[in-house]
């Protein structure tokens, strides 16, 4: 059974290859079946392997397909490593990925380039699977860059609009900045350990590097650089909101199943190195905390439905980083899984709305959709409740509560991190229900023309169920004490020690967290449903609030800043030197030779008188010199 492992990433790749080669000549149905089917079969194999894994409980399965290359003892393999951590990721990637593929068959039904779309989607899933299954960092890097490529291809899927192309390039280039940092990290790891095999490095590292050693810290920071790039965290988050330019299923795939969670995976995978580098751990937590606040505030001000969701992704991944940073490894991964369910759900619902309203994405043009699109409404509501972490009934509550708790009570946690997370939870509840009220309540502003078909509805329902029951596999220990998920991850990820002094009062903080999200819900009800006009007036009355709103709306000015600091100077410099200043040296030499030639040829003017003068002057000069010297 284990030797089926290679099929999990291979099937989507094979699907992509077939679609690239023959997709244009295939009937649309076949394209959809091939596209969704390849991922579906991967999901089935994952299920089979998963059952076997759960019943046999080995530490890991490993399968080497071939040796990629072998130079001077550096021999990374095309080899896959399945342990509990990769199993969770593979499960999410294949299942959520499969549902998104099925949905896409409906969503993209009128699209001209049907085959190209599915080819890229398959490639995307395949690359992500490569990333999470790789047994060495170089193969992981292959998946890592492959994911970057696919995001570029899919964000720019509607290539005719140059703005989409710009967003696509932005995504690729910004994530590549992070990748470069990561590559340098790999150089250090290879130099130190002589291999890039993950397990070998993880078992060697504690013996080679003492805790807090310079190299460990440097490496951890470089890996963090790669992670913030892919995961859309500060300071490399600016590409993610623009990634909305792609078709909506692509956004769902990027935000839920693939791409942005790669950074979370990388940090969790190399947890040993991070544990050896306390400053880097702190940095991960702080990046997470700051990002979740900044992105949350920005989400409050957006009107584009997909942009709200995009910023909420950045914010939620901030939570995952926060969890990883305080050493609550399995809490971070748990939130990743739950987030994948509800974020995919929310994006797919948003897609259904957008299609129903003729590609309208502005929430101000929506409203009253509750009655027109009931299924979408109910499923969206479930997703939103999970995102806002409404207490007890949603999966998001259980996953987020853990993070909040460890941010405070974990040995690396502190009250500031906790406060950031708590305020973030409050903001999350507000912007989430702001979305719900503006979109689904109030008067209808655009006519619904295109209700979603069955192909699109079924994935919504499945994801809605997962967004609810998914949380019940891991319950707080003062509640029912069910730890299926953390038990599963326990062999891979270290556990977390809790500060005993505050351990007693856990229920108090849980109530606080629950209260905060309910209050957020209420405020959203007040501002965006009950008295929207009054709220609007309060905001617009004061210049300060308006300025803050505009600042938040622009994503805290990061785009402008980077544009000024990096993009413009680079383009200017490059344009300035388009003709290559070094070439001037050589053309200068050439024109000097020409000038000399012209000057000297003037002496040969054919006038005998001048020649005789020249000869006489020369002779006199030579004679004088020979007499003098």
């Amino acid at each position: 059974m284990e030797n089926l492992l290679w099929l999990i990433p291979a099937l989507p790749f094979a699907g992509a290859l077939l679609l690239i080669l023959f997709g244009r000549r295939m009937p649309r149905n076949l394209v959809a079946i091939l596209g969704a089917g390849s991922v579906g079969f991967s999901a089935l194999i994952t299920l089979l392997l998963g059952f076997q894994f759960l019943s046999a409980r080995p530490d890991f399965y490993v399968q080497q397909v071939w040796t990629w290359f072998d130079v001077a003892g550096f021999s990374p393999g095309i080899a896959f490593h399945l342990d509990a951590l990769s199993l969770v990721f593979v499960f999410v990637v294949t299942f959520v990925g499969f549902l998104i593929h099925v949905y896409s068959a409906g969503y993209m039904a009128d699209e001209e380039d049907f085959a190209r779309f599915f080819a890229c989607m398959n490639l995307f899933v395949g690359s992500m699977l490569m990333l999470v299954l790789a047994d060495n960092l170089l193969l992981l890097y292959l998946g890592w860059e492959g994911v970057g490529l696919c995001s570029y291809l899919l964000i720019g899927f509607w290539y005719k609009n140059p703005a989409n192309g710009y967003a696509a390039r932005k995504a690729f280039i910004i994530t590549r900045v992070g990748d470069t940092a990561m590559a340098i990290g790999l150089f250090i790891l290879f130099q130190t350990f002589g291999t890039l095999n993950i397990q070998a490095i993880l078992s060697e590292a504690p013996q080679t590097w003492p805790v807090g050693s310079q190299k460990a810290v440097l490496t951890a920071f470089l890996l963090l650089g790669g992670a913030v790039g892919k995961s859309g965290q500060l300071p490399l988050q600016t590409w993610l909101p623009d990634a909305m330019a792609g078709p909506t299923p692509v956004s769902a795939l990027i935000h839920a199943a693939t791409m942005v969670t790669a950074g979370v995976y990388l940090i969790a995978r190399t947890n040993v190195i991070f544990e050896l580098a306390p400053p880097a751990m702190m940095a991960v937590a702080i990046v997470g905390a700051v990002t979740l606040l900044i992105a949350g505030c920005t989400a409050l001000t957006q009107y584009d439905l997909k942009r709200v969701l995009a910023y909420s992704t950045i914010s939620q991944i901030g939570y995952m980083f926060l969890a990883l940073g305080v050493g609550a490894w399995s809490a971070g991964i748990f939130h990743f899984m739950i987030h994948a369910f509800f974020k995919a759900l929310l994006f797919l619902c948003a897609g259904a709305i957008i299609i129903a309203l003729h590609h309208e994405q502005d929430m101000r043009q929506m409203g009253g959709l509750r009655r027109a699109l009931p299924v979408v409404f109910w499923t969206f509501l479930i997703g939103a409740a999970s995102l806002a972490a409404l207490p007890l009934v949603t999966a998001g509550f259980y996953s987020k509560d853990q993070i909040l708790w460890y941010a405070l009570a974990g040995e690396r946690g502190n009250v500031w991190l906790y406060l950031a997370a708590l305020v973030g939870a409050f903001i999350t509840a507000i912007y989430t229900f702001r979305m719900v009220f503006i979109t689904f309540y109030g008067e209808a502003k655009t006519h619904v023309s295109h209700p979603p078909g069955l192909v699109m509805v079924v994935p919504l329902v499945i994801l809605a169920i997962l967004s609810t029951v998914g949380g019940f596999i891991e319950l707080p220990h003062n509640f029912a004490h069910l730890t299926l998920f953390s038990d599963l991850l326990q062999p891979v990820l270290p556990g977390i020690a809790v500060d005993e002094t505050i351990g007693e009062s856990e229920w108090m903080f849980q109530t606080l967290a629950a209260g905060v999200s309910v209050v957020g819900l209420f405020l959203a009800f007040l501002f965006f449903y009950a008295r929207p006009a009054a709220f609007q007036e309060t905001i617009t009355r004061s210049k300060v609030t308006m300025a803050i709103r505009d600042f938040w709306f622009s994503g805290w000015g990061f785009d402008k800043l980077y544009d000024m600091l990096f993009v413009r100077p680079y383009v200017y410099l490059s344009k300035l030197n388009k003709a290559d200043v070094i070439d001037e040296i050589y053309t200068g030499m050439a024109s000097l030779a020409e000038t000399l030639n012209r000057a000297l040829s003037r002496t040969q003017d054919g006038v005998l008188r001048n020649y005789i003068t020249g000869v006489v002057v020369g002779a006199v000069l030579i004679l004088t010199l020979s007499l003098l010297l």
Partner: protein
């Protein structure tokens, strides 16, 4: 003998192609194709049947005295490095013939004569182990290339051809001086005046002499590679040359510079080279960044690709002077994969030019909707040029950088930043040509842009297959290069130990009298046989 045949077939084929033009205009094409296919097949055969022995990296060698009183001989030898370079030469040679099939329609015979003679010169450079002969072949590649640019080039061809000629000729003369210097110093020391590479290897110099001679060789190789600030001939020559010329320039001629560094500079000057290494690596990094920045703003498609070559060749010099196996393997891979990927980009530029009659990317855009096949191929090679894993260029760049990291951390960091800049120019290239709004629709006289035809697919697909193969399973190439690389490094790490000559100690070698035309030794499983 097979090594001579490789060159002779090309040279004779060239002459035949020229003559056969009288028969029909199609004849030179077929003659040329055949004359490259045969050496290609022979080289593949050599690759399959020979392997290096444990003691010596040399697969074949040949030594025919030519002008014995001056120590000049017809000396050739083949090792893994040369073999790989030959494979690349003939592979790109075939493609160069195929792309010229329709593109060249005047003086067809003379064109293919020049094409084949350039290839012959290149093959000679990769094979010869006599410095006099090396210089001869170095010139043989130059002159037909000059004609190719000057006669069949684009509008500004004369300027470009002169510039190309002056740069390479001037630097080549410096190398000639260095060769002569080496010849006399060695002669004075040992009493035998010879141009034999293997005998010259052991020469010891005063530090000043070593530095001076090394710079003579470096002049030729760095200009050819090219290294900033000696690169400015390249954008002109590449963009003005006909497609086949650009492919050969970028794919092969630049590689002779890299080959020269590996074959001559490193083993001949094991004490002087390390002193120069930090500066050389710095030059490499400057080249990577400078070329990438310039590529970003170019509007001429071929000029853009030309500057990417400057950037990519920076990795070569960076890796060569890192002096370790990882980096050198990376360099060899870079030579091959850059030859393929840049060759492919020039070929695509040629395809577009033949349809649009412009190289200006401001007049292009949105071609994906009309020519998706071409778009996919373009995408693949654009990705190759930005170093996407899974394609050959990634292996090359990653190995080079990992190796360079061991030698110098900071320079490697800056070189790695080059990957970001490469992303910027590569994606811009893709955007301006195949994405965006269809540029043809805005023209009233919209000429159609047909997708790739059968001949063009026949050119493109082998390149795609090769770049994928090198990206996913490069081991055969690495294994072939390994013995040569290990040997160069031995010479470097232990400067006193002489490099193993092809005359392996454990095997008898026949030195036949001068009137016997040929001696030929080939290795099979380490044992020499004479045929």
């Amino acid at each position: 003998m097979i090594m001579i045949w490789l060159i002779v077939i090309l040279m004779v084929g060239g002459v035949l192609a020229w003559i056969s033009e009288r028969a029909s205009i199609a004849a030179p094409r077929w003659v040329a194709l055949l004359s490259v296919l045969v050496p290609f097949a022979l080289t593949i055969y050599l690759w399959q049947t020979t392997s290096a022995s444990a003691t010596s990296p040399w697969l074949l060698q040949l030594d025919i005295p030519w002008i014995p009183q001056w120590g000049i001989g017809f000396r050739m030898a083949l090792d893994g490095l040369s073999l790989l370079m030959l494979l690349l030469t003939f592979f790109l040679g075939i493609l160069a013939v195929l792309v010229s099939w329709r593109e060249i329609d005047n003086r067809v015979g003379f064109f293919f004569f020049n094409l084949l003679w350039v290839l012959a010169g290149i093959a000679g450079v990769f094979l010869t182990m006599d410095l006099f002969l090396f210089y001869f072949f170095w010139e043989v590649m130059l002159i037909p290339m000059y004609f190719q640019i000057g006669i069949w080039g684009h509008a500004n061809r004369n300027y470009a051809a002169y510039k190309f000629f002056l740069f390479t000729q001037a630097s080549g003369l410096l190398m000639l001086l260095a060769i002569l210097g080496l010849y006399f110093i060695h002669g004075r020391q040992t009493g035998t005046y010879t141009f034999n590479y293997f005998e010259l290897l052991g020469t010891s110099f005063t530090p000043e002499a070593a530095r001076l001679l090394m710079f003579g060789f470096l002049a030729a190789f760095l200009v050819k590679l090219p290294v900033v600030p000696f690169h400015s001939w390249l954008p002109d020559a590449h963009s003005e040359a006909p497609t086949a010329g650009s492919v050969i320039l970028a794919g092969l001629l630049l590689k002779t510079g890299a080959y020269g560094l590996l074959r001559f500079v490193i083993p001949l000057f094991p004490t002087a080279a390390p002193d120069f290494a930090p500066w050389a690596m710095l030059l490499g990094v400057i080249g990577i960044l400078y070329g990438a920045i310039l590529a970003f703003s170019q509007t001429d498609l071929k000029r853009l690709v030309a500057y990417t070559s400057v950037s990519h060749m920076g990795f070569v010099i960076l890796g060569v002077f890192a002096f370790n196996e990882l980096a050198l393997q990376g360099v060899v891979m870079q030579m091959i994969t850059h030859g393929l990927s840049t060759g492919a980009l020039f070929i695509l530029a040629g395809f577009l030019y033949s349809r649009l009659h412009t190289r200006d990317i401001r007049q292009m855009g949105g071609f994906w909707s009309v020519a998706p096949k071409m778009g996919v191929i373009m995408l693949i090679f654009v990705m190759a040029s930005l170093g996407l894993p899974g394609l050959g260029n990634f292996i090359a760049e990653f190995l080079t950088l990992v190796g360079a990291w061991q030698a110098n951390n900071w320079l490697t960091v800056f070189a790695t930043i080059g990957l970001v800049l490469a992303t910027a120019y590569s994606l811009r290239l893709m955007q301006k040509t195949f994405y965006g709004e269809n540029a043809l629709e805005s023209h009233a006289d919209a000429h159609a842009l047909p997708d790739l035809n059968l001949r063009e697919m026949l050119i493109a697909l082998p390149m795609v297959a090769a770049i994928l193969w090198l990206g996913l399973y490069p081991q055969p190439v690495l294994d072939t290069a390994k013995p040569s690389i290990t040997q160069q490094l031995q010479a470097y790490q232990e400067p006193e130990a002489p490099v193993v000559a092809p005359v392996a100690q454990n095997a008898p070698v026949l030195i036949l009298p001068a009137d016997t035309l040929s001696t030929h030794h080939s290795t099979r499983g380490g044992a020499y046989v004479t045929d």
